[in-house]
């Protein structure tokens, strides 16, 4: 089973069903069985408390449109910890969502993220954390693999998924190689050959996950990173979906 762990649905805020209907035929053609959705109808890098609530509710509605195909994450923000914890309680502890997304409003190494990380650990759900290291310069609140390593070291009971393998994936994957509560998704960069093999080499196949960062990216260009990798069929099954099933408790 193929699970895409990194999807953002873009579209009109009140037309989530249309966005879901638009996406699924493409997933069908590539045999992607499940897709894990995060953030809202449009990218909001510095959301206020109300916005993480409406974005999370957008994700809940998406999941309700296709409960057998879509899973979702709470959009948490270290700038709005109370609201983040409330959303996790409402939509994970007492709802259908399977984890938490942290994006770029503040670096994830910031102690403000601690209550979110601790509660995710209590709930037994992972946190998908955006990471990039850009030679052209990160945005101020953008986490690197080093930031995630700090957070994950402080919260050994919480599972983390390092989105984009750190962007600079050779550096990113090496940074977290020994931190076993961090997995990495392969998504969101051009399909540079070698990335998936490098993840399997440094983290082990059970800690590498397929994701696409569609709908901005193509499902196919990112799936090609796994289908095209020189790894064993057993490892490929892990990366394509078995790991996501385990990590997100699908």
């Amino acid at each position: 089973m193929i699970v895409d762990c990194h999807i953002h649905l873009y579209g009109e805020p009140d037309a989530v069903a249309a966005s879901v209907e638009r996406l699924l035929p493409y997933a069908d053609r590539l045999d992607i069985a499940k897709l894990i959705v995060s953030l809202g109808h449009a990218l909001c890098p510095k959301p206020d408390a109300a916005r993480i609530a409406t974005d999370t509710e957008y994700v809940v509605r998406a999941v309700e449109c296709a409960p057998d195909r879509l899973e979702g994450l709470v959009y948490a923000s270290p700038n709005h910890v109370d609201m983040s914890l409330k959303l996790m309680e409402r939509h994970i502890a007492s709802g259908p969502l399977k984890g938490v997304k942290l994006w770029i409003c503040r670096k994830c190494s910031d102690p403000a993220c601690d209550p979110i990380a601790a509660y995710a650990g209590e709930l037994g759900v992972p946190i998908l954390v955006h990471t990039w290291m850009k030679s052209t310069g990160n945005s101020p609140g953008e986490s690197t693999s080093y930031d995630l390593l700090e957070l994950a070291t402080r919260h050994p009971q919480t599972a983390f998924v390092m989105a984009h393998s750190g962007g600079d994936w050779e550096r990113g994957l090496r940074t977290v190689a020994d931190q076993t509560n961090i997995c990495a998704d392969i998504c969101g960069g051009d399909p540079e050959a070698g990335q998936t093999e490098y993840g399997v080499q440094w983290l082990g196949a059970e800690r590498v996950l397929y994701g696409s960062d569609a709908t901005g990216r193509s499902l196919a260009s990112q799936l090609g990173k796994v289908i095209g990798a020189s790894i064993s069929d057993e490892d490929r099954r892990l990366v394509l979906g078995e790991n996501a099933v385990r990590v997100f408790g699908l």
Partner: protein, 260 residues
């Protein structure tokens, strides 16, 4: 039958690339059903004098000559490039590759006009790589901005008898490039870095299927990434054939092998 219009062989200075030796790349092509590939060399992107890289390529692919459409890298901003071109024509190269950002010139520079004049006289298609890879991933001391393509429409119109191919380009990010692609029959783009769900499917009505060719940017990129785009998008058989070989045969001349 699939013709890959965007491939490199040889040595890339910034990281280890698997399958970049000719025999390995042939094995990759065979395993994925690629009939032919238009290839230049990685090293020519960063060499000042590209000529030795062209010579290496011809020698390296000689045992597999019918599988490759060798592309000579030319740097029209380098002294006496005309001699490199002469040698390349004599050696049997099937087209020219340009890396204006790495070689330090603009599309609007005089040298570009000289090169296109020569390409027209010799009936050689010209491929322009807009970038080699994501600038955010460049070596921090070697950040090379992408080629500024806004002059491409003017060039394609002026040199309408020269076949032009843009590689590693997302045309939908620039209105002038989209306009040029839909207006100029001699201008093409490859699918190697198209992104967005079903992007290929939406691009066809926007610029016309005859402007689009299959290019993977392998082995720098996974060949499967481009192949899966053909499956992600819903394509008619006619459009599929045009993209995977028909347009490439027109672009690179009629000598490509028959469909198998």
């Amino acid at each position: 039958m699939i013709v890959d219009c965007n491939a490199h062989l040889g040595h890339w200075p910034f990281r280890d690339i698997a399958n970049s030796a000719p025999e390995q790349f042939i094995a990759l092509m065979d395993s994925r059903g690629i009939t032919q590939a238009a290839v230049a060399t990685f090293q020519s992107v960063v060499y000042a004098d590209v000529h030795p890289a062209n010579c290496w390529l011809m020698e390296a692919i000689a045992p597999f000559a019918e599988r490759f459409l060798p592309q000579a890298t030319i740097n029209p901003a380098f002294p006496a490039w005309e001699r490199d071109l002469e040698t390349a024509i004599a050696a049997g190269f099937r087209g020219l590759r340009l890396y204006p950002n790495y070689h330090g010139y603009e599309l609007s520079d005089d040298c570009m006009h000289d090169l296109l004049d020569a390409a027209g006289e010799n009936r050689l298609p010209v491929t322009i790589h807009q970038r080699m890879f994501d600038e955010r991933r460049h070596h921090p001391r070697c950040i090379v901005p992408a080629v500024e393509l806004s002059a491409i429409g003017e060039l394609a119109t002026q040199y309408h008898d020269v076949s032009l191919l843009l590689c590693n380009c997302r045309p939908y990010q620039s209105e002038p490039i989209m306009e040029a692609l839909s207006a100029c029959a001699n201008l093409h783009v490859d699918i190697s870095v198209l992104e967005g769900v079903g992007r290929l499917e939406t691009l066809i009505p926007q610029i016309g299927v005859h402007s689009i060719v299959f290019g993977s940017h392998a082995p720098y990129q996974y060949l499967d990434a481009a192949l899966l785009k053909l499956r992600e998008s819903c394509l008619s058989q006619t459009d599929m054939d045009a993209i995977v070989y028909g347009n490439a045969q027109r672009l690179f001349g009629s000598q490509t092998s028959e469909p198998v």
